[in-house]
Amino acid sequence: MRDLRHFLFAAVAVTFGLGVLASFLGAVDRGRFKENQVLTAARAVAWVVQQEEILDEPPEDLAQRFIVAVGQQPATQSAFVLKKTRILLHSDPAQSGRRLDRESLADKALYDAAREMGSDVRKNDEEREKKPDLDFEPYGEAELADAGEGVLAVRVPVKVDGRFRSMAQVASQPAPLDTGYPLLLFLGLAIAVLLYAGLRTVLPTPGRLAVGTVLVAALALVGTLSTVLDWRDGVREKAIEREAALLTQLADAGLNGATPPEQRQALAHYLARDARGRASGDLVDLGAAKVGTPAPGRAYPAGDSVAVYDEAFRAHKRSGDARTLGTWGGAIATVGVAIFLLGALGFTGRATDSFIYHRRAYGYLSPAMLGLGVLVFIPVVYGIVLGFTNRIYNDFQFAGLTNYVAILSDFDVTHPQNFYFTLGVTFLWTTVNVVLHVSIGLFLALMLNDQMLKARGVFRVLLIVPWAVPNYITALIWKQMFHREFGAINFFLAGFGVEPIAWFQSFWTSFFTNVATNTWLGFPFMMVVSLGALQSIPADLYEAAVVDGATRWQRFKDITLPLLMPALVPAVIVGSVWTFNMFNIIYLVSAGQPNGATDILITEAFRWAFERDNYGYAAAYSTIIFVILLVFTIVTNRITGATKGAFE
């Protein structure tokens, strides 16, 4: 019965967590689409302004007409262009092309923005002058600014004649804060539970039953709605449609006319980039109705141009993470609501009573649990889910077990990026380190555990210095000490006539540098733990052993070691987990050299995520690491009973 309760608690907790997560994701997604729309519009303006300058015979009033069209888009609030530090064009047709009046109150805000833009253009100009290698783009990077009240302003500098002389700004319509309705659903759930709990203390039994039934019915209704509405997909689909419509309108407004046909593909890719400058891949061709073949079976709006999104890509997306997460979230929410339904009258009641009875304990526990929930458990669950996805362009799409299969079924152990090779290195790394830590630490502790020893305290304090030094500093210093030309170690060896060693060129020397650094760093912890345990061994045990004629070795083997174990075993377990995940040392000392061979699992996972940009793979990799550690801990716990006492 207790187990069942835990299960129910866990189910409800997971449901809450996923719901909140789903609403976060939804909000992030919606924000991104809004951002992309404004970005696209701003880039389009920048493109047109540049084309107008470059083309020999630009269509009359092209930029002017275009910017008015942009300003009238549903998504945009205003658009204007700064040319040679003067505002010349903005989206109000009546005023387009007029110079701003500094004294006029109505122009004040726009005037200030223009001045800011002017200084940005100059600054950009100077910076690009200084760093010519940044000029790989016809435009500068877009700059996003929060203009307050939900308005997003995007500025794109425009380069003309090799200099940044103009800048386009497009501001979005203000958008209300959108938290997504799943968050509301789960907030509602929480409020309902609390309400029920409160009522339960005051109502008589029949009343409880009625209130409980009403609440549960309401919850069931909301829960069903949440699964029926495929909310996240719908939002996404609509956002893509909106962006396509926007692009079509922009193309009609003169974007196509301003663009030589051979540049249209480039334009499409330029426009369809996200804020970080990465191609989002949403958009395949702009103006395809004229120059290419549009996807069959689709009706296009009237007009000269059409923006074509890659149908295949959209299909991917639909079957990708959005649909999967949405469905999973929905399914788990349904299970959660079902559990809630089943248990609402009996279990919830009992849980509530228990909660009220133990309210002090939960009160003390809740701040930490809330923090852990949001910043540890949700990210971990999310990370594990991402292990089942692959990132295509900017999107995570469901990939099933592909990543796990790719990691675990590759048996080419001669390759340093192979999982089993890295696993072997990691086990070797952990074993060697822990053995060295424990033996050095224990040996020094035995030496120090002598009341009569002079300067005992001084030795002890000096020997824990390595523990106190921040470990990234230790790592960087040791890396320098192993430097081939300037490192102390090679100089020291030169004193014995040894040729300078290129420490990071071969596996074993490189591995040695890591071990040396981590040993220096890690033995004081074991020393302190052993010393503490040694001091708690009663001296009369040794006296009795001496009387019985035990040798020094026998005393160590039969008294010291057994009595050390209760403190040492947990320390070894904790130390093993720390060493297993000791990112800083490997990453900073050997940096995986040579050729990634000295990388351990955790640094390899990091490289997959941030250097090889394969986050799904990295997430699966990390999940495997987690499972290995979990199994290790469970097994060692079973054998040693290290945490047995702690649960009482």
């Binding site: 852990l372 040791w478 320098q480 996972a605």
Partner: protein, 280 residues
């Protein structure tokens, strides 16, 4: 070990002294070396293993303090570490107290969850955490780092503190209850003062987490004005040996406070660790 050998100057003890002196020298050698690099001006770079500077100068320190945004980094690190310590200790103490003194449904899963979080590879959490922080508007905010650091420090601290709380006799609380004390009075007036050594160690660990962490800080803080000391220091390390003097000087400045704290609290380490978290 037997406690019976007569004088502090017996041959065995002298041997130990000699060995320990040697071990201490070997242990401290890298530290000497850093001091030497820090006090040697970069022009007169001297890489010989002799551990003391030949012509000491403060050039490197001047460079670090006045030509780099060192004080910005310092300010950020101090704010983040101090806030993390306060928040981390508060969170760890309250939950350890609940786990040590109350029996309630969900206690064992809660403790297990603290244990399991120790095993999560940080890489697994980094991008989700980034997205969550982004949606909460906490990127490039010192507050964001404080929240992340204090929650990552919690599990270890909770286990350590809970072990220590367990050793405090229940009779003290029962007596206080008889005298009419409330739970919160017991917590603030009895438990916390009695477990100061363990609380001190908890504070030290929370502080060190925040003071020493660089990957999350580098990922979450894009703006240069929000960089913490570890991020700044990592930037100073280039491929050329000439920059190492400055790095060594900065390393000393950064390590001093945490080493000092460590030594101030080191007496508590033995008690705090062995009676608490490590025992399980």
């Amino acid at each position: 070990m037997t406690g019976h050998e007569s004088s502090p100057f017996s041959p065995g003890r002298l041997g130990k002294m000699v060995f320990l002196t040697f071990a201490t020298f070997v242990t401290l050698y890298p530290v000497f070396w850093v001091f030497k690099m820090a006090f040697t001006p970069s022009q007169g770079f001297d890489a010989s293993p002799y551990p003391f500077p030949t012509n000491p100068s403060l050039d490197n320190f001047k460079h670090v303090l006045f030509e780099l945004p060192f004080f910005t980094w310092l300010f950020n690190s101090v704010v983040v570490s101090a806030a993390t310590t306060v928040l981390g200790v508060f969170l760890a103490c309250t939950s350890a107290y609940a786990l040590s003194r109350f029996r309630f449904p969900g206690r064992a899963p809660a403790m297990l969850s603290f244990l399991v979080t120790q095993m999560f590879p940080g890489v697994l959490m980094m991008i989700p955490l980034f997205l969550i922080m982004d949606s909460l508007g906490l990127l490039n905010q010192l507050l964001g780092l404080v929240l992340v650091y204090s929650t990552t420090a919690i599990p270890f601290c909770v286990w350590m503190l809970k072990g220590y709380f367990d050793t405090i006799p229940k009779e003290l609380e029962e007596a206080a209850l008889m005298d009419g004390a409330t739970t919160s009075m017991i917590f603030w007036r009895i438990m916390l003062p009695l477990s100061l050594p363990a609380v001190a160690v908890t504070a030290l660990f929370s502080f060190m987490t925040a003071w020493n962490e660089f990957i999350l800080a580098a990922v979450f803080m894009n703006e240069e004005s929000k960089h913490t000391l570890p991020v700044g220091l990592k930037q100073m390390v280039g491929p050329f040996a000439t920059e190492w003097g400055n790095f060594a000087a900065a390393a000393i400045l950064v390590s001093l406070p945490v080493v000092a704290l460590f030594f101030a609290l080191q007496k508590n380490l033995v008690g705090g660790l062995t009676s608490g978290g490590v025992k399980g």
